[in-house]
Symmetry: C2
Subunit: 353 residues, 2 copies
């Protein structure tokens, strides 16, 4: 039986949901997965930092209604967040990075991952920034330090599209993909089909908590662009940077466009895609497309995401699943830890042989 | 670089498609997958048997227009099929079983698998019979003989639903599944929506080669029932037998039913499903269901298959892909061989350590 000590960087919705799972599921995981998780540190911009080598009680952590700087009142705690100290010094096997995505340079999350890997700790993350902008460097660092860098939750939350493409499509000859990768813009388009104009649909998405106060990243395609970069690099072995991916969002779509599509038995969707060209290069793009209703992605509604993988031997396979959600995204972190555990168990078997 | 010697049992569409791939893809596989395939034996009821320890030329095998008993004209060949001798004595690492599915007792395919595993050969198969009816015995035999028993193609051809559920959903807590698992019946229902009656739709499916001369297994749900058994046993850890799965096909659906569904914004689909009950038992069933158009499976048209996996932590994830096709099913065999190769490479690494 393995216990993995974990350090949570960021204590917003996702890492809080992971702590909730830990509070109730450890016995089940012991039985079914062969490990349990022990939270030895948490750092959060708002709440502060705490390092507790013997482990923090997950239930207390989740249920205590900490005020700003509240970790300062805990043994081993501080009212100030000190991510560097937590990552470098906490006795963690795995650092769980779930801070905000910075689409410019991925910081400070890239540094969080770098510190962790350099100190020999595994990293699991749901943060698109480090994966889209620094995956090659971080993978090399992981390899050099015999650590794992896993990031299933960076695209489509816990829907296992990255792991599936890697483990289950070898030899199928991946040619490209196209997907609905942003639930907010998909929700907005759906509401426009029901008669709302763009601004009213965005306002409704904000009221429901789907869209942020500044909806630009969602509706202008920038969020999808990062995901296209991640998937193209993972699935097609590309080395794309975001600025090389053409990007058009949905803010230019009018009710007239929506109605014209309906008249033509079709529907607007914001599609992120990439294709391998004849010369081996990979081209990615983000743009609204008018899909016929019988298209496999046309029926993907609301906040659901989907991606169609186009292969030479198997044709097209589409995976549809949640694209967001606290627990669904926390599951991505768990699935990354399962992958680490399985690889570690293999290594242990080798060392014992 | 590994070369796997393979013996093909049955030389119908699927194994012939695998031979076609071998004829053109071995260099690509060497580079991308780390192995090449060498056909050392073929046995087929119609064509006879041939054992060629140095390997048969795949291109010749595919392009030669053999008559009945034609393998008798080859060096090492016989006009009579002798599966037992081929499986027991050919110098094969892997036996590729792709004979017909016998829904009663799985024979002779179960014996083919048994002989192969007992002689220490791996088995890859697209045949539902051995997997639905004898998986526990064959898995135990494989384990005892340090061989692999792989069967991705037994459900949804090469669409990797079995491998995906095993490798990518650990810890998600699988609660059940529901799927469209028979392309022929799905095609027939679609044609009935276009105005054909049941008999005419079946006749069209037969004319197009989707349905066999006796369409019973497809339209009465018996094919789906075997797939429900396979998926329930794999995904939910059940030990179901086909006779325990309630089964109703689509032959009782009238044009009146089809029209009534359309009026209610819904659509008939033949659904195979299983669910884990509160007491831990698993119940499977096959029946036509009237799905609202917004249901994730309602838009799956024609010969395409799909399955929704229902989980506790991740909600529902749907995989949509080809359910049949020569090359698509041959890819399932390739993906099984990739899985064997990866496991073997791990074992070799262990032995070298």
């Amino acid at each position: 039986m393995e216990t993995y000590n974990i350090a949570l960087i960021g204590f917003g919705g996702v890492n809080r949901a992971l702590a909730e799972l830990i509070a109730t599921k450890n016995s089940l995981w012991e039985r079914d997965l062969g490990f349990r998780l022990n939270i030895v540190a948490v750092s959060d911009l708002y709440l502060g930092s705490v390092i507790s080598p013997n482990g923090l009680d997950a239930k207390t952590l989740v249920e205590a209604n900490f005020a700003k700087g509240g970790f300062g009142g805990l043994s081993g705690g501080s009212a100030e967040a000190d991510n560097a100290t937590v990552i470098n010094t906490a006795p963690a096997d795995i650092v769980v990075e779930a801070t905000f995505t910075n689409p410019k340079d991925g910081e400070p999350a890239v540094s969080h991952c770098r510190w962790a890997l350099k100190s020999g700790k595994h990293v699991v993350t749901t943060n698109k920034g480090p994966v889209a902008l620094a995956a090659q460097e971080l993978k090399a660092l992981a390899k050099a330090n015999r650590a794992h860098f896993e990031y299933e939750g960076s695209v489509m939350s816990g829907t296992p599209v990255i792991r599936m493409a890697k483990n289950c499509f070898a030899g199928a000859e991946m040619k490209g993909f196209e997907g609905i990768l942003n639930g907010t813009s998909n929700f907005v388009l759906g509401r426009m089909e029901s008669g709302l104009d763009f601004a009213s649909a965005v306002a409704e998405a904000q009221a429901l908590g789907y869209a942020e106060a500044d909806p630009t990243a969602d509706v202008e395609g920038f969020d999808v662009r990062l995901k296209v970069v991640i998937l193209a690099n993972e699935l097609l072995g590309a080395n794309l940077q975001p600025e090389k991916v053409s990007c058009q969002g949905i803010s230019g779509i009018s009710r007239f466009d929506i109605e014209a599509a309906a008249t033509a038995n079709s529907r607007w969707k914001l599609i992120g895609s990439a294709v391998r060209n004849a010369d081996g290069t990979v081209t990615g793009s983000v743009s609204p497309r008018q899909l016929p209703l019988e298209h496999p992605l046309a029926g993907v509604n609301g906040a659901t995401n989907a991606v169609s993988l186009n292969t030479e031997l198997l044709g097209s396979v589409t995976v549809t699943g949640p694209g967001a959600g606290r627990t669904e995204t926390a599951y991505a972190l768990l699935s990354d830890i399962v992958a680490i555990h399985r690889a570690q168990s293999g290594n242990l078997a080798k060392e014992a042989a």
